[in-house]
Amino acid sequence: MNFELTETRQMLQDSLRRFLSDRYTTEVRNKIIDSDAGLSTEIWDQLAELGVIGALFTEEQGGFGGAGFDVTTVFEELGRAGVVEPLLDTAILGGGLIAALGDADQQSLVERVIAGDLHLAFAHSEPGGRYDLNHVATSVTAEDGGVTLTGRKAVVANAEAAEILVVSARESGEAGDEDGISLFLVPRDAAGVSVRGYPLLAGGRAAEVDLDQVSLPESARLGAPGAAYSAIAERVSAASVALAAEALGAMETATELTRGYLLTRQQFGRPIGTFQVLQHRMADLWIELEQARSAVINAAGHLEGDARMRDLNVAAARNLIGRAGRLVAEDTIQMHGGIAMTQEYELAHIAKRIVMSDHRFGDTDHHLEQFIALSA
């Protein structure tokens, strides 16, 4: 039993934390959010240079990490600083899926991802599909030496910045079947692809993506036809671990900001941190923070293991963090009062990151259901 970070991960954590605290200030970040692109290529390049993207891939994949605890080390720091750059979409999901299923040619894209030269997006969810991972209605039809995709993908994060979309589509069966789902590499500027972009409430951008008879060569398919579901499930679990760790980091920042505020803010002639009601509320938040940290550790530690145990621990972590995160976001805003309601204050963004992470790949209730099904 050992709960210490390895030396490599400790170094990664230190350097990433130092970089973000120096360079990714509230002001810089808020400007990025307001920009048309919704991300900073400069920051992205520097993250790649620091090895942050490489840490999310295994050595065989060309990285130097890739395990659950690498993911949590990186994303906890991203969460602490409220980073909006799409590491989840380009690296964990897009890059991770290519690394898992791609042939030798396709794998070369992973190198570009690690180098910071390529953006990807995972175009999977569909309107009306909510959080059901097997809900894929986008159709694949065979044509001369290739395929045609038609369908609509919903809230595709990072779609506009992505050179290539990793698109799920159905070769056989019906929406709701796990079998029959394939993944395709679709250039964002391919004929028939239209992208309606918009900003996200918690920063970054996403898009509705329409696929209207998009013709692709056979070589665009990742892996064997119709057999992509288990790789998708594995990567979405990794994404859930990343989201949980990111929320944990954001919760740390939210409680630290609040601690500082309680010690300095004066009301009725004394620091508001002297009010017992706020003291006890903080005590409860700190307790929940430790619980959240444990839940993230449990999920990360099971990411590489047996799929049922992985899914059970991931569902547990996301349910716990869904509950604890809401509590932390709402209570830290409440303890601040008006100032936390203003867009320019750090906590406003951090709280949005926490709560909005509950809307990616399943919310609190979705993960509770998963947990119940898996523990039956």
Binding site: G129, A154, P199, E208, E330
Partner: protein, 399 residues
Amino acid sequence: MDLSYNADELAFRDEVRAFLEEKLPKEMSDAVREGRSLGKDGHDRWHAILNEQGWLAPNWPREFGGCEWNAVQRHIFEEECCRAHAPRIVPFGLTMLGPVLQKFGSKAQQDYYLPRILSGEDWWCQGYSEPGAGSDLASLKTKAVRDGDHYVVNGQKTWTTLGQYANWIFCLVRTDPDAKQQEGISFLLIDMDTPGIEVRPIILLDGTHEVNEVWFTDVRVPVENLVGEENKGWTYAKYLLTHERTNIAGVGFSQAGLDAVKRMARAEMSGGRPLIENPHFAARLARAEIDLMAMATTNLRIISRAASGQAPGVESSMLKVKGTIIRQEINDLARRAAGIYAMPFASEAVEGGNEPPIGPEGADHVGAQYFNNRKLSIFGGSNEIQRNIIAKVKLGGGA
């Protein structure tokens, strides 16, 4: 005990319903239902419609052009307005300043300002809060120094709601710097066009511009703009804060919000079935609805006591706390119901643009609204302050 309205009350309700059906423009109720901002023009238009009907000032005495409705009638009117998705009446002139002038203002002030509030000629905003004061209102620092026939005002107000539309502001200012905190405060009426006033927007965390900072630099205010006596402003301020706070429970808003959540949850599919049939979602929804049903009765009980002349005491604080908890819970349900479509920041939709919605009907604004309505438990006396009040009153002198 009788939980239903009596015949008179039912007749009044029908009258209100008929009016709303006839006079409330559809594009306006659509905007309210979809959570879009109305802008100044929209508010002005609805204000004028109500004024024409004579229903703009439910709580004003008839002598000043009000309806003089009792508490039950006012409740029915508010309930029906919420049900019909009518815009909220901007309260600063009508329900805040009006009663203060009626009780403490000079005849000249009443004659001049009250008709202009009704006509919509003046849009008032409120200059109470200051930076760093928060719930400790009496610690205000904005100074007014007498200089001949004028006060010279210097300082800063904040959280001034819709100040960007206002041409007048009523302000609490410190006229005696040596007096104890709550003494030495005066109540001034200030024309926003006076030189030295600057309004700076505060953008809230959901991107909306509904509050402002108002800066005063050597602003000269005629002495006749003082309400009541100098240094007695705290009395008038408290009167304003405790008097006539109707609809504090927000039952109508909650009911409309809950209906919207249900509509969305019936349309949204989860695991092949409507979300509303998902037992975990249904449980959240049912608990909120059960709490709201009880809150509606709690509200009516208090209103019915007020209508029979008993002054509401600690009950206002109870309604505020529980009412905001329920409204915020409904906002939370709405974002859950919207699923992945709670994530987009649909600023165009919020601002009333012409873009088609991104997600399913009603989903576009729920994420932003969830965050925006965190204010409900903060502004207007935070829920912590309300709990202090409840405990103080009910525990009595011993604690």
